[in-house]
């Protein structure tokens, strides 16, 4: 009995490792191996003796064996989720989705290994467990690769966008993770059939893969539609901008004729000084009325990441509406950026919103400087400030110059940039302006 528990516990250790590893993969996180292995070990020592005693120890004889093993596995799953929450991702929704899916994948893979077990299956048999574990590890390795490839991480991110999706995904996860048991409960099949179980596992794995494909396809379709809409909106804004320039040019042309005739008179009369003044004013006026708009349109042309351009366009027109002068500089074409697009957009959004908020009260202008070079992209935004800013508190949760219930922006900005090894942030004050910089390096690590 003790011997069997030991074997089972040792075998389960790999189970926990596999589940944690898969969860990491699904979440797209990197957790140091020692931490992961240790967490799995602690969890294993806590859970597996209990599960083994529950399943094979015949303590709860009054419950039918199928329901009992379902119940036990779900308990194990719950503990796994807790550990995943603690070690990998401090987010309940993410943990629930990733953990259950990881568990499901693990379970099916494990069942498939039954194909290769020659004898009747038994939890406490050394031979059985060895075969199972070796195969499990090999399969898991490949499955991990596949998960990274199909970008499960961004799938979860998408699920999180809507509460309904999120709850649905978690529920499906829970259902799937218990699916072989559910089948067993409803049919009157017996646990002993190695091959039956394996076939069931394989079938479910394929089914879920197909389902996943269907789901992501739908979501991708939705997203494409949204992206297209935003492109249309952006282009409309762009055209509006051009039309405005056109209108200004037309107005200007009208004035120009008058000015020219005035200047012509001045020349004739030899009034060079008046002429100079006149021309100077004219140039200034040109810069103010049309020059600035042309300048900003020119600079925006260099942003070749459409979503980023569209975001900045929206923000700039927002500033226009609020009468905030804005100066944009994009020296080199911005083509790519080694950060997930949604994260980049969120960061840029937070920083611009903060600048707008700050300027709303103090009055002033906003500078946006985007420099792409050597695969490095630097986004810099600045606004004038009055008085001092406490640099240390700026990133604390809830810090804001505007009282309570605000200041979550910079906090989540930090949270977003945190996992990126190639991204560095800086904030500083210089000659009366407050600067925020995000620098995205060339290489993903």
């Amino acid at each position: 009995m003790i011997y069997a528990i030991m074997i089972y516990t040792a075998a389960s250790y790999f189970t926990e490792v596999v589940i944690h590893y898969l969860s990491c993969r699904i979440l797209g996180r990197r957790v140091p191996w020692p931490k992961l292995l240790l967490a799995a070990l602690i969890l294993d020592l806590l859970v597996s003796p209990m599960v083994y005693l529950g399943a094979a120890g015949q303590i709860f004889t009054f419950i039918p064996i199928t329901i009992l093993s379902y119940f036990l596995d779900m308990t194990a799953l719950l503990f796994n989720l807790i550990s995943i929450y603690l070690v990998i991702e401090r987010n309940i929704a993410k943990t629930a989705i990733a953990g259950t899916f990881a568990y499901f994948i693990y379970y099916q893979t494990y069942l498939i290994t039954f194909f290769f077990i020659p004898k009747q299956y038994a939890l406490g048999s050394l031979e059985n467990q060895c075969i199972s574990i070796t195969l499990l590890i090999i399969f898991t390795y490949f499955i991990g690769k596949i998960i990274t490839k199909i970008d499960a991480c961004s799938f979860i991110e998408r699920c999180l966008k809507k509460k309904r999706y999120c709850v649905m995904a978690a529920l499906i996860g829970f259902l799937l993770s218990g699916s072989p048991h559910i089948l067993l409960i409803f049919s009157i099949l017996h646990l002993d059939y190695n091959n039956t179980l394996a076939v069931v596992g394989l079938g479910l794995l394929f089914l879920s893969a197909a389902f996943f494909r269907y789901l992501t396809k739908n979501i991708i379709h939705d997203e494409n539609e949204k992206a297209q809409q935003s492109i249309i909106a952006q282009q409309t804004a762009y055209i509006q901008n051009l039309e405005e320039i056109q209108k200004d040019v037309r107005l200007y042309r009208h004035d120009f004729k008058n000015m020219m005739s005035g200047m012509y008179l001045d020349i004739k009369e030899g009034k060079t000084e008046a002429l100079e003044r006149y021309m100077h004013n004219m140039l200034d006026e040109f810069d103010q009325s049309i020059g600035a708009k042309i300048q900003s349109a020119n600079q925006m042309m260099n942003i070749e990441i459409i979503e980023l351009k569209s975001l900045l366009m929206t923000k700039i027109s927002q500033m226009h509406a609020l009468n905030i002068p804005c100066h944009v500089e994009v020296l080199y074409p911005v083509r790519s950026c080694h950060m997930k697009l949604q994260d980049l957009l969120r960061c840029v959004g937070i920083l611009t919103d903060n600048a707008i908020e700050a300027v709303k009260e103090t009055r002033g202008d906003i500078d946006i400087i985007l420099t792409a070079q050597n695969h490095q992209v630097v986004f810099l935004i600045s606004n004038p400030i009055s008085g001092e800013i406490d640099m240390n508190r700026i990133s604390q949760k809830g810090y804001s110059t505007k009282g309570k219930g605000r200041g979550l922006g910079l906090y989540s900005y930090q949270e977003i940039t945190q996992p990126y090894q190639n991204v560095s942030c800086a904030a500083f004050c210089k000659s009366g302006r407050f600067y925020q910089e995000i620098r995205i390096g060339g290489y993903h690590s």
Partner: protein, 245 residues
């Protein structure tokens, strides 16, 4: 003697600017001279590499027609070789992305070359403000800590630095200063070697300016620097107390 280096691939403009600079030096008796006036960035960089003292003044064309260097890249290269030099850009358009240059290259000023009359005046203005800055620096020298974030060089006055902290991202440190909070690649031990004994590594993740310590909490092994609490390792505690007195 401060050296002036000039680079513009339009011969006419370059000669014009050189003439104006020399006139100004003569009139105002500046301690400066034109060391190099060329049309190729490569020649300028070669000259710069051979110079011993570097705190030069550079006049650079923005729109250099060179396959490797435009004005921005040349400025960056010069910054690497001469972190404390003064860079002024020459441009033919008023709508230069000047703030980008100011930020990434620490450009000091720019002059627009199409207004021939204005050119002389802007060069005079430029040189005189450089001169007054140099005088001010001589009278009251400020020590800077210089580091790189990405490929941008930054200078932070030593007296404005509170402490350095290791970031949660591996190989990154965060500088906490009076006016800034900056993350850059580096290690605390390397920084400690660069700085003098005004700074001390009190913990494996903190390197603090000793004269900026506001409060020492012996019971919890912490110090307060610039309003933030930093841990002190037990090993360094007595050493720190000794250094503070």
């Amino acid at each position: 003697m401060i050296q002036i280096l000039l680079c513009d691939d339009d011969d006419r403009i370059r000669k014009e600017i050189a003439r104006h600079i020399e006139n100004q030096i003569l009139i105002m008796q500046y301690d400066m001279q034109i060391a190099q006036s060329c049309d190729s960035p490569v020649v300028l960089l070669e000259e710069l590499r051979q110079m011993q003292d570097k705190r030069n003044i550079y006049f650079l064309d923005v729109d250099l027609k060179h396959p490797e260097y435009d004005g921005f890249l040349l400025g960056k290269k010069i910054r690497e070789l001469d972190p404390n030099g003064t860079i002024i850009y020459i441009t033919s358009f008023g709508d230069l992305a000047y703030k980008t240059f100011q930020y990434h290259v620490e450009a000091f000023d720019y002059i627009v070359k199409d207004m021939t009359d204005g050119l002389s005046a802007s060069i005079a203005r430029c040189l005189s403000s450089i001169q007054s800055r140099l005088v001010k620096e001589k009278a009251d020298p400020v020590e800077y800590y210089t580091f790189k974030t990405g490929d941008t060089i930054r200078h932070v006055p030593l007296k404005d630095i509170y402490f350095f902290e290791t970031s949660s991202k591996p190989h990154f440190v965060i500088l906490h200063g009076k006016h800034e909070r900056m993350e850059f690649l580096g290690s605390l031990s390397d920084i400690e070697k660069e700085l003098d004994d005004r700074f001390m590594k009190i913990h494996r993740s903190y390197l603090v300016a000793i004269d900026k310590i506001e409060k020492v909490d012996l019971r919890h092994n912490t110090v307060t620097v610039g309003g933030e609490i930093c841990a002190v390792s037990r090993k360094e505690k007595s050493k720190l107390l000794g250094r503070m007195n």
